[in-house]
Symmetry: C2
Subunit: 337 residues, 2 copies
DNA sequence: CGCTGGAATTGGAACGATCCAAAAGCTATG
DNA sequence: CATAGCTTTTGGATCGTTCCAATTCCAGCG
């Protein structure tokens, strides 16, 4: 096994010094075009590959941004990851994505590994629960860190937090259902006790209280499966409920499937609004009303915040919330009644 | 801004030499426990972080495996990425995931960046079309590369390819529909001309030809939206079609939604089988029959192949196909006729 | 022809770890 | 107490690049 060629080999082959090769590598304007060409030919000839580790050792700055996601299977996060990566790429930064899979120990390992690799900044959607000293470690290194979509550490002055204005979204959804004639609006899905459940529920509750209506809430996993179950529970235990604000679209779709399974198709006076506006919401049948989050825009904003911090040293606002938008579709509209 | 502490600082603080600190870092058994403890305390005290770039420079081997995916938004790939990452992690390798988003230029950049960062191996699901010299470059470096799910380069002796036995799956699905009484089975979805479409279609075609039946195929994007359209097209132009093998579950779900929208619910003699067995197939209503791919198992196998190649130098078989399994659910079963 | 000054090139010193051979510290033994 | 045979520790060389100051090159000018 022959070893990888180095700039020295390139230099020898091109008949110049290693420094010149280095300058060519960095695209310096002060090397003569002919020299540049000959060096590039030499590189191609001997199959040179740049050794980033060596370069980083000397020059510290790596064009690398870390992204740690708690659940890569969730389309919400992959959409975010994809958009973030593309925005950062257009500014010359590469993104390394890792999935903590809701495992605090794994998250700690991943963050550690990214710090070791010398990422210039980190974007993290943290796992729930004890993150141990992960954030302390980050604080010590002093690299820019943005928390998104979930808050894993309360020190938002150190680790600015960005998310969506879920409360406003659920209030909008609830008011919309009221306007459509619903009189008994349940909240379905979301594990009790989680911050995000609380946020998506509080808007609903406020509107109901203002209208002096009874509150029925069924909590559970944010999955299609729970939606299915919830439909049976509503039909059996809460027959007066005539609409639901769901924790997310998956629950909403499950709920609609459950009603269909029970022989009660939509259009018989039951209305549903979901959350997230996933692709399927628009393309399933009946189309599902949903509170839409502009993930791509959010990702771009996040990239801008990180870039501003890295490049110009301007620390972002500690806590911001992006607006959301209700998209009304057939699942919540009056069906000729 | 104070600079990051180095092993020299740790050594000074602990009163030992840098070599000893290095040994502690590598978990060598030949340093006295007390010494180890004191070094570790020193590291914690001054907030030392390991500099992997420096380490790599000398020792070449990095516990890093690259994964380049063509579409991170596709749940199929995220499932694969997650499982692969977890298996590799249990063997002490970190996985760096990147998304080429079907962009050949971006793919080239990502692969280049990974080589530069010194990944020990690469798993790639390539983009369609011209990959340029990406694979030539990989061939030169000599690092283990596995192609999965898609073939971007024909030299499978250099870049072993692994995928699923889609042809057998679609043949199974078609035979199943025949057995259920279908007499006119269409193939729906998949862009014409793509290898994967061909594979998923060829089993269907063979069974139909053996049974001497007419072939109706509607090609298009592999999305829910196309399924919706396809339903209308079938109803209008091919009224005799009484079943469909779909390119994937999304198309199948769209197709079912389309029939529902047209007022023709399932159970009126139309049968559907999808491909991939995504979560929704089992949990939607009616449950969708689907050809199931064991992605997690496939990811584990891939990890094993890569590990075997990296660690023991045994090059995998050039081309393998994992078996798939038909899961029959209500969407394809006889409904009392 | 010698001089000047900008453009182009160069050699050597970092960077922060690992590796290796050699040294120092320990017993236990004759 | 010298010696052998361990275990533990150590200094220097090394990896492949960037950075910097210094040098060389070369055209233009008096």
């Amino acid at each position: 096994m022959k070893r990888r060629p180095t700039i020295m080999d390139v230099a020898a082959h091109a008949g110049v010094s290693k420094s010149t090769v280095s300058l060519v590598l960095q695209g310096s304007v002060q090397v003569k075009p002919e020299t540049r060409a000959s060096v590039q030919r030499a590189m191609a000839d001997i199959g040179y590959v740049y050794n980033r580790a060596a370069a980083n050792l000397r020059s510290a700055s790596v064009g690398l941004v870390g992204l740690v996601i708690n659940d890569l299977r969730n389309p919400f996060f992959t959409e975010f990851a994809t958009s973030l990566q593309m925005t950062l790429a257009s500014h010359g930064y590469a993104t390394v994505i890792a999935n903590s899979d809701e495992d605090p120990a794994l998250q700690a390992k991943l963050v550690g590994s990214m710090i070791e690799h010398g990422v210039a900044a980190l974007v993290i959607s943290p796992v729930y629960g004890e993150a141990g000293d992960t954030f302390d470690q980050l604080a010590r290194t002093g690299i820019p860190v943005c928390q998104v979509l979930r808050k894993g550490d309360e020190r938002t002055d150190l680790f600015p937090f960005a998310s969506f204005d879920y409360a406003a979204g659920s209030a909008d959804a609830t008011r919309h259902l009221l306007a459509q004639g619903a009189r008994n609006i349940a909240f379905v899905g979301g594990l009790a006790g989680r911050a995000i459940t609380h946020e998506r529920k509080i808007g609903w509750r406020e509107v109901l209280r203002a209208a002096d209506m009874t509150e029925v809430a069924l909590h559970g996993k944010s999955s299609r499966g729970f939606g299915l179950q919830a439909a049976d529970m509503l039909i059996a235990d809460h027959p007066k409920v005539d609409a639901a604000v769901c924790f997310n679209d998956l629950v909403a779709l499950g709920l609609m499937a459950g009603f269909a399974r029970a022989g009660r198709s939509l259009g018989q006076g039951f209305r549903v609004v979901g959350f997230d506006d996933i692709e399927e919401a628009a393309q399933g049948w009946p189309p599902l009303s949903s509170v839409s989050c502009d993930i791509a825009g959010f990702a771009r904003d996040t990239a801008d915040r990180i870039l501003g911090w890295m490049v110009q040293g301007q620390r972002p606002i500690p806590e911001i919330r992006s607006p959301v938008r209700l998209v009304a579709r057939m699942s919540s509209l009056g069906q000729g009644e």
